[in-house]
């Protein structure tokens, strides 16, 4: 690889914000993977102890208990699994759908390109959250439907991005040479175009994860997410509303969890952008 790669990595490692982002996400992954071991009361995900309800944080329940007397820390840890699943699957499928569409549309141009881009325009015309609410409401509340709603509303972002990048790359000399040498369109797209726009996709994906988690939490909050007793973070905040401000920990704990994860993805995305795409890094020219 180029020496720029090394420079980028060094920059990434020395950037405290990116490192913090990475650390937050590692914590999330650890929480999700080791939830059954880390959780002090793993059974509390679905079990209630009404006599212990709404206990403030103490030595037994480190983060307090909820309206059914379940341990909040345990529920938050298991909730991390749902958060990761939703984010990875929803963004993953949005990438899988959006990237090929953007590639094809950007590479060929003409009417197929117009058609694909106008379709994505239709999706982009409605605010994502509104569209996701409509879809989730129609399909009924469940995790699968939230993922579906998010994927359906999210793919145009990648399609747009890849479309624009492909269009600008298409006229580069090395692409033209590849075509002149007789490379098939598929080969050009996957081996020449895609690797060169990968950095933009990765950055968008990282930041998109944060947005997706936020939207998923909003759907959960509105009661369109996983049905109870799933420890979904957005739903937990919704349940906690009526106990505010007295049971402050009840809303704070899932709220802080969502905040940290979204911040983690955003910081990581920013860091990745600096590292992968030096053209548009933060504070370019100063650093």
């Amino acid at each position: 690889m180029m020496p720029g790669w090394r420079r980028g990595l060094g920059r990434f490692a020395s950037d405290r914000a990116s490192a913090l982002g990475l650390a937050l996400l590692l914590a999330l992954v650890v929480a999700a993977v080791f939830a059954p071991i880390l959780a002090p009361f793993p059974g509390d995900v679905a079990d209630f102890h009404t006599a212990n309800r709404l206990r403030p944080p103490d030595a037994v329940n480190w983060l307090g208990t909820d309206r059914m007397g379940s341990d909040l820390l345990s529920r938050i840890l298991f909730g991390a699994r749902i958060t990761i699943t939703i984010a990875v699957v929803a963004v993953g499928s949005a990438v899988l759908v959006g990237v090929p569409i953007g590639l094809v549309a950007g590479y060929y141009g003409g009417w197929p390109s117009n058609l694909l881009m106008r379709v994505s325009d239709v999706f982009l015309a409605v605010p994502q959250i509104v569209l996701a609410i409509a879809i989730a409401q129609t399909l009924g509340p469940s995790i699968e439907n939230v993922i579906l709603a998010l994927s359906i509303t999210y793919w145009p972002f990648w399609a747009r991005l890849v479309f624009a990048e492909t269009r600008s790359l298409k006229n580069e000399v090395f692409i033209e040479s590849a075509i002149a040498l007789g490379a098939s369109p598929l080969r050009v797209m996957t081996l020449h175009v895609l690797p060169n726009i990968a950095s933009a996709i990765i950055v968008r994906t990282s930041i998109g994860m944060g947005g997706t988690i936020l939207t998923a939490a909003a759907l959960g909050f509105l009661g369109l997410g996983a049905p109870p007793p799933t420890p979904e973070w957005g739903r937990m905040i919704a349940e906690s509303r009526e106990f505010l401000p007295e049971a402050w920990w009840y809303a704070t704990v899932p709220g802080v969890a969502i905040f940290m994860v979204v911040m983690g993805f955003n910081l990581l995305g920013d860091g990745l952008r600096d590292f992968l795409d030096p053209r548009i890094r933060r504070g370019a020219g100063v650093k």
Binding site: T50, A51, R53, G69, P228, P229, R241, E242, L244, E246
Partner: protein, 517 residues
């Protein structure tokens, strides 16, 4: 120049806004935050406590329920006589009563109203359909109405206040394709009632303006304007009460919230003995749910103590049958189910059909129903029954309950008082004559029907008591529903409001008696 004028206009608007609000206050405006929507104002289409305010405050009945224990006072009718066989009921109407549009109220309006109810078959019609034939109600003169019942009915008099009278000439004018004016009356008011409709938006609620010429007269400080606003969010209602944005809210708040409001200086909590039974309505007419062992398994899987003592902090009393314990007709020695997973498993073992996931519909805005559902879900899971919880606004839940196929398997809710008679509970919930209207359990049990019909046909109180006790016992023992508690009423109002005349019927939403102290 243009900008100056705009700025000036904005300044005037800003300066005058508080003045206008202050004026409204001085005239006595009452704002009530309600936890379910007012999707329909038609008094003959709706019949529940969540949407009682429009019926009570906009419409008059022949008699009216007030106070606690509830008593009936003469209202549009001054008196009545009944024939010896209990079938002919003659009501003498009040003279000189004016509708909002100034026209006079007569016997024709009563006849139109009862015929309209019987034709629409909605709301309170379920009370009259079995006993009054269409066309059988007559008016010998302008101020006399005669009801001729198909069979004697012990509850007829107690249900007369539900015959709310509409202005027949006005409604007829707005009929469309023989719809009895349903489309029009859903959004308009045609009555002689305490308040005139000033503004209505199904998404927001309604505003009523005092009908000064009302025949019953007014107290010197009665509210000039009442607003019933839909506020689904429990916390918004509670915070609004504490901040003084609302002067009253529903009597369905979870006890946690009542305790919070008790701390607030500008809020008073009125408490009264009431009759409102909290239970899980069960669809007895569907596979698995029609198996008594399956229902019993569920009844043993609900943590009654956890719910009553911990979640409701002991503010309510266990009530093991559909009939409220503080009314005659409640079985005295009935033990009721306890939380016992061993017994639940034993019952489940006797179920032959393959299990399927059970759906519980909860009422959005009534968080107690969610917590009860979650508790049952938890217990059921331990014995291997999967329960799914879906939440929807009350009008949606109710319309699904009235449809045999669309109904949920279970719905946790309250059975409130609509008239003080055990038939209001065990009769309506389990008598097959009310299937599709008040009976959303879809129970059709020959023995129950026999007892309930017999009890309706006699006026012998002792005989009726025995029949209702037998019916309630059977319903409870066969777990045709899961019966949890009977509540006290906790009514949150602004501290400076007086004259709230609570009656279990209407739950303290009859605003014509109330005033600012």
């Amino acid at each position: 120049m243009k900008r100056t004028i705009l700025a000036l206009l904005a300044a005037i608007a800003a300066a005058s806004a508080p003045v206008v609000a202050g004026e409204a206050w001085a005239q006595g405006k009452y704002v009530h935050a309600n936890n379910s929507g007012y999707d329909n104002l038609d008094p003959h289409a709706i019949f529940d406590v969540g949407r009682a305010a429009s019926r009570i405050n906009f419409y008059d009945g022949l008699y009216r329920w007030v106070d606690n224990p509830p008593k009936m006072i003469p209202w549009l009718a001054e008196s009545h006589t009944a024939s010896a066989d209990g079938k002919t009921w003659t009501f003498k109407l009040r003279k000189g009563v004016k509708f909002h549009d100034g026209s006079e109220f007569t016997a024709d309006d009563v006849i139109y109203s009862i015929e309209r109810m019987l034709a629409m078959k909605k709301g309170a019609a379920s009370l009259f359909l079995p006993i009054i034939a269409p066309g059988s109600t007559k008016a010998p003169d302008k101020y006399t109405v005669v009801f001729t019942l198909k069979e004697p009915s012990a509850i007829f008099l107690a249900t007369v206040p539900e015959i709310l009278v509409v202005n027949s000439k006005l409604v007829k004018k707005n009929e469309k394709d023989g719809d009895w004016g349903q489309a029009w009356l859903a959004r308009n008011v045609a009555s002689s009632g305490s308040y005139k409709l000033k503004r209505y938006d199904p998404a927001i609620g309604f505003v009523g303006e005092r009908f000064k010429e009302h025949f019953a007269g007014w107290g010197p400080k009665a509210f000039d304007e009442i607003e019933f606003r839909t506020v689904l969010e429990t916390n918004t209602r509670v915070q609004g009460m504490i901040k003084g944005d609302f002067q009253g809210t529903d009597g369905y708040l979870p006890y946690d919230q009542i305790l919070r409001l008790k701390e607030a200086k500008n809020v008073q909590i009125l408490e009264a003995e009431s009759m409102r039974v909290f239970y899980f309505s069960m669809h007895n007419g569907r596979s698995l749910m029609n198996d008594v062992h399956f229902r019993k398994a569920l009844a043993y899987a609900f943590d009654y103590d956890g719910f009553i003592k911990d979640i409701l902090k002991g503010a309510v009393a266990r009530n093991p049958s559909p009939n409220p314990n503080n009314l005659w007709g409640a079985p005295k020695d009935l033990k009721g189910f306890t939380y016992d997973l061993e017994k639940a498993k034993a019952e489940l073992a006797q179920v032959k059909e393959p299990l399927r996931p059970i759906t519980i519909g909860t009422l959005a805005g009534f968080s107690e129903t969610e917590q009860a559902a979650a508790l049952l879900q938890n217990g059921a899971k331990k014995i291997g029954i999967e329960i799914k919880i879906e939440s929807a606004p009350w009008p949606v839940v109710q319309s699904r309950m009235q449809d045999r196929d669309k109904n949920y398997d279970m719905v946790p809710l309250w059975k409130s008082t609509y008239y003080v008679d055990p038939n209001n509970w065990v009769g309506e919930l389990y008598g097959s004559r009310y299937i599709g209207t008040r009976n959303s359990s879809y129970t059709k049990d020959a023995e129950l029907d026999k007892w309930i019909d017999e009890a309706l046909a006699t006026n012998d109180q002792e005989k009726r008591r025995v029949l209702y006790e037998k019916a309630a016992t059977k319903v409870a023992e066969q777990a045709m529903g899961i019966f949890v508690y009977n509540t006290k009423w906790y009514g949150p109002y602004a501290a400076n409001i007086g004259g709230i005349r609570f009656s279990p019927i209407g739950s303290g939403q009859d605003m014509r008696w109330a005033y600012y102290k």
